[in-house]
Amino acid sequence: MKNILRTVSEQFGSLLDSGANKLDDWFIKDVHKIAITGLSRSGKSMLFTSLMTTLKYRSEENYNCLPLLKSLPIEFVEGMKLDAIESYELFPIKDHIQSLENQRWPKPTEQLYGFRLTIRLKETGSIKKYLLPHKEIVFEFLDYPGEWITDMPMLNKTFSQWSDSAWAQQMTEPQSYYAQEWHHFTRAFNFDLVPDDDSIACVVNEYRHYLKKSKAGGISLLQPGSFLISGSGFDWEHHGFAPLPTKVTSDLSNPWNKVFSNNYQLFLNQWLKPLKENSFKESDKQIILIDLFEGLNHSKLHLQQLKETLSNLSETFVYGNPSWFSKTVLRNTAIGKVAFVATKSDLIPESQKPQLLSLLQDITEGARAKFEEKDIEFDHFLVSAIQATDSGLSKNSLRYTNLQDEYIEVEFEDIPTSLKSMNRDENFPVLPVKVPKDFLPRILNGRGMDRLFQYLLE
């Protein structure tokens, strides 16, 4: 009898606790679930590092950073804390700061991080401040490798469909240059042989070699990107696959076609579907980070491909603006606000920023077309998570320190305002910027983060 009573009282207690937490959530918490989507090298890790550092120094040291972030007024911020979301790893902010202290850029993300940033604000309303003396703004972020994002459109394809489209992409510029060795290999390989572990590993490794080479060459549309990083939860070494020449995929009885089709299905079912369900589902806002310099540094064709990749990616997410009932009671979530963000905007002179913004708007055209007939709010932003460069002598120039510690002045010609206005034979070579020694003030003096987060909080 005692045990029954104890169990009942424990159950009742936990019910009360969870009820109290729910009430807290309703009355004092304002939760923003933000998915930060960005291709590999788009600056996600640096953006998180900068955001957390800036908010910390703003709330604890009272530095006048993020002046446009009116929704989090400095004078009312009581404190902030960072903790991991249940079943996710905490973002390695300390490691990243350590890297910056050693004048190295933070390592790219190779695994999934989920973290919650809670900012506690003093309540200022004349009556509210006595009833509920504070409120909390909660940001929930998911950081995942950009390579995983590129794989999401594969969910809508069969192996032969994916293989044929991958093959077609490899035959066109700019991939065609990087795919030469891979194509040479497939021409020489006998796909009539019965596949065994060694021969499968040989084909998959050769394909990975092509993917790695293309990635180094600034190609954005590379599938499966999950094969490129060690943190992915799929065993590609034993269940790998690669696109096959059309003559092989068109022959359904070909043993290679059968093996790779099976492995492809495993990849979708064991890796991509659960990843999408668990990681990309519960967000109501989205930041799409775009590194336009990946394209500008290489060629017009690279930029065109970036545009295509972004357009394909937008198919992956669920957009819409569910009603309060649908959102709160039925737990339907959809992304209702999107921010397209061009990162690393300190890599061009101030005078060229309007052009860069215009180019960003052009690049997102295909992705934005998916929002038509839906009540989706969106806007475009330029952000520099760290102001690593200085202004130069003329309005079209800037200065930076390169990896050899030389301080360089760079004079820019006009950045194209759209893809159409960029010539095929011109580019803006990459600036190998070294992390400045005074990285902290340069993070605190970063640009555009306040405008971006104010937009998301409004």
Partner: protein, 304 residues
């Protein structure tokens, strides 16, 4: 057939030149100012006290001088004393001249401040960030360098960067300068009105009450003007003095009314308490009216 794609070559659209200097070190952003900071206070003895002191000294000196003249008509016999008296008189005249200069300057500053209206709506319509910044900087140059308004403006300036649009600059000006100053001025006014009410409550008679009320009115004007970065002096703005005078007249009228009511009720302690309470409330309310008039006048200059 083997594909043969050549590595593409591109014409770089940037030109790089090594410099023989090191990258400059950036400074941390300025720290945010706290709203509960006191507005700038006059340290030391005010010019008014100097003038008063020197005036008293001169009167004393002349009295002594006259006394000496009366006692001893041999002026030439006391050259040091006569020199001292001459110096005292000279200093008094100098202080009076300085005081007049300060008053005139204070008056001109207030007039200039009010006249140089920053019409934020018009600046927003024009959409030119350069002229907006110039206009705001010109307006800021009129405020006292150590004032709360000036500190707010410095904070606004430190937050400005080349990325900000005209609309964002104006928004930032509102949140970093106009709104904090208004809030601070309202805080000062609230505090002064409590003091005003308190003094009215404890003052034993109407004369003392009127004198205290005049003093607190002038102090309120001065403190609020300081929040906005002005040192108007007493004659700094006739419009404000007129409001202060109206207030004093209203307070006197209220005194008469409460006296009459007290006479009708009788002179019990409870009646006296009620009278004083009513006068305290009236004094506080009139002080708020005075402060609000000043805030409106100075704040108009901010918002146009």
């Amino acid at each position: 057939m083997e594909s043969n794609f050549e590595q593409p070559t591109y014409r770089p659209k940037i030109k790089q030149t090594p410099l023989h200097e090191a990258q400059p070190v950036q400074a941390l952003p300025e720290k945010s100012i706290r709203l509960d900071l006191d507005d700038d206070k006059n340290s030391g003895v005010s010019l008014w006290l100097w003038a008063l002191g020197l005036g008293v000294l001169s009167i004393l000196s002349f009295s002594v001088f006259h006394a000496i003249q009366t006692i001893d008509s041999y002026f030439n016999t006391y050259p040091i004393l006569s020199s001292f008296l001459g110096l005292g008189l000279g200093a008094f005249i100098l202080a009076i001249a300085l005081l007049i200069y300060k008053e005139v300057k204070g008056y001109l500053d207030v007039s200039q401040f009010v006249d140089s209206k920053v019409d934020l709506k018009a600046l927003e319509t024009l959409g030119d960030r350069h002229s907006t910044l110039n206009k705001l900087q010109n307006h800021a140059s009129l405020v006292s360098k150590s004032s709360y308004a000036s500190r707010c403006f410095r904070q606004f300036e430190s937050a400005i960067n080349s990325d900000l649009s005209n609309h964002e600059i104006i928004g930032l000006y509102q949140s970093k300068v106009a709104e904090p100053i208004l809030k601070k001025a309202e805080e000062v006014l609230k505090k002064e009105s409590f003091v005003s009410g308190g003094l009215a409550f404890i003052s034993p008679n109407t004369l003392i009450q009127t004198l205290l009320f005049a003093w607190i009115s002038v102090r309120t004007l001065k403190r609020i003007a300081r929040v906005f970065g002005l040192r108007p002096g007493i004659t700094g703005n006739w419009k404000l003095i007129r409001v202060a005078a109206e207030n004093m007249a209203a307070q006197s009228f209220f005194d008469l009314a409460t006296d009459e009511i007290t006479n009708q009720i009788g002179s019990s302690l409870a009646a006296k308490f009620m009278e004083n309470s009513a006068e305290a409330v009236a004094a506080g309310a009139l002080n708020i009216r005075l402060g609000k008039a000043l805030i409106q006048l100075l704040n108009e200059a901010k918002h146009g």
